[in-house]
């Protein structure tokens, strides 16, 4: 999958602080972009349903929205903490960290 661009947003949580980033994969350091591409493969991002959230939102959990754009078009997935398995948690933590370091630069 030739990933071009990624949009990430985390809202909610106890603090209610929004963290977001919108970047081209090429903008990242090589090691980070490789790790990100691998994790997206690992979670089978393209085959995930658009909504992975439970029926009723749990108080203070995070809500994440990830959009991946590639040559084949774009796919958006929204999920909550409780629907993230271990690989997905790794992906979310990496995206979170990328978003935070980019927010600082802006």
């Amino acid at each position: 999958m030739e990933i071009e661009r990624i949009k990430f947003e985390r809202t909610g949580g106890f603090a209610g602080i929004r963290i977001a980033a919108d970047f081209e994969l090429d903008d990242l350091p090589e090691e980070q972009s490789r790790a990100l591409a691998e994790l997206l493969e690992d979670v089978k991002f393209r085959s995930l349903p658009e909504r992975l959230t439970g029926k009723t939102p749990m108080p203070d959990q995070f809500t994440y929205t990830i959009t991946v754009e590639s040559g084949k078009g774009k796919h958006t997935v929204t999920l909550g903490d409780s629907s993230a398995d271990e690989k997905m948690q790794e992906l979310l933590q990496l995206l979170n960290r990328i978003a935070r370091s980019r927010m600082k630069k802006q």
Binding site: E9, T11, G12, G13, F14, A15, G16, I17, R18, T56, P57, M58, P59, D60, Q61, F62, T63, D81, S82, E86, Q89, Q93, N96, R97, R100, S101, M103, K104
Partner: protein, 379 residues
């Protein structure tokens, strides 16, 4: 036509509350027998049986019971039990904070609002600490409290959050989500969701004030003081005294909370801004507490608690909460009382009227009593 519960016509609810919680065994028996022989109790045997059972169950319940678990940076809940009720402190500060904080929260609800734990019936308080790695959050999962360690896995200069048990109001906040789940059941979205959040901030802050024995004027009214690291320009996560001023930071941005309806934030994120618009009812509570003076948990807290327990419904909005707290203040302290006027000022100052709105479900005081005793019929 409104159907009256017979108990409503015999004994006022505060008396039954007193009998159920403070009465001797003999007094309870007398109360139950009095009700039994009452002409008006005919056809109400079921309700009477419930009442009798509940009255004695409250007495039989041990009360405060806590277990703190360690997730060991994993995601399975609840994890390994590391401290049970009555155990000595451990070497793990997060474990001790979760234990002590849930204990003070239990004490406030029990001693001040005569509520025996989250469900009103002695439910055990379970907390899990060290959830995942770098999890800068705490939440209530419907059954227990869960706390992350902040962003402990980042280099020190990048860290923004400390462990989430560090602030006792966070613990009171999470436990109150449990109380709301058993009472008003406010849906976690838009205005009902922001009210759900606000109730958690209100009682979270009251747990801290109760622990520190601070009056409304002495309290800082900050939610999550100590939670942000020194890398962040901020005093905490939210300010009930001055919503929108808790932090202003290059990385985290500015505290987005409004203090007035004219600044209400419409957003799809955060379940419709539940952690943002909660600033409005939070500020109304702060103003009412300051107007009343003294310890906020005694009067303003009582008004909010009774409203949460008996009047708000799952879809209540800010306007309903304004009207219902005003109504409750009148019932508890008298129409036109200082307390009722204070509640009115609180809501007026944030742009809401205490007249109109405020639909509540009919239930009568029997339901209220049974709910108090932890025997509420499902709503």
């Amino acid at each position: 036509m409104h159907k009256h519960s017979p108990i409503q016509c015999i004994v006022p609810p505060h008396m039954l509350e007193g009998i159920a919680t403070k009465g001797t065994e003999a007094q309870k028996k007398l109360a139950v027998n009095t009700l039994k022989t009452s002409e008006q109790m005919r056809g109400q045997r079921r309700a009477l049986a419930d009442f009798a059972a509940a009255a004695f169950r409250v007495a039989a319940t041990g009360g405060k019971e806590r277990i703190v678990y360690d997730a060991k940076n994993g995601s399975s809940l609840p994890g390994t039990p590391v401290r049970r009720e009555g155990d000595a402190a451990t070497a793990d500060v997060a474990v001790n904070e979760a234990y002590d904080g849930s204990g003070v929260t239990y004490d406030l609800y029990n001693a001040v609002y005569q509520r025996n734990s989250i469900d009103g019936n002695g439910m055990r308080l379970d907390s899990t600490v060290h959830f995942q790695k770098g999890y800068d959050n705490a939440f209530w999962n419907g059954e227990q409290m869960v706390y992350g360690d902040g962003d402990e896995n980042l280099p020190p200069e990048e860290r923004l959050f400390n462990r989430f048990t560090i602030a006792i109001d966070v613990i009171g906040h999470e436990l109150t989500h449990g109380v709301t789940q058993f009472e008003a059941k406010l849906v976690y979205s838009q205005q009902p969701g922001a009210l759900n959040e606000s109730m958690s901030d209100v009682f979270g802050s009251l747990v801290k004030q109760y622990q520190l024995k601070q009056t409304a004027a002495q309290a800082d009214w900050i939610i999550g003081a100590g939670l942000l690291t020194k890398n962040v320009n901020g005093v905490g996560i939210r300010s009930m005294k001055a919503p929108g001023t808790a932090y202003n930071d290059p990385v985290l941005g500015k505290d987005p909370q409004p203090a007035h309806m004219k600044d209400y934030v419409n957003t799809v994120g955060d379940n419709g801004g539940v952690h943002i618009n909660s600033g409005i009812p939070n500020h109304a509570f702060y103003i009412a507490s300051m107007e009343i003076g003294g310890n906020a948990w005694e009067k303003a807290g009582k008004i909010w608690y009774v409203t949460l327990r008996d009047k708000l419904t799952s879809t209540s909005k800010f306007q309903d909460c304004a009207a219902l707290t005003y109504q409750t203040a009148g019932e508890l302290f008298g129409a036109g009382s200082l307390e009722q006027q204070a509640v009115k000022k609180g809501w007026t100052d944030v742009g809401l009227s205490v007249e109109g709105g405020g639909t509540t479900e009919p239930g009568g005081c029997l339901e209220a009593i049974l709910r108090f005793l932890g025997l509420a019929p499902a709503r």
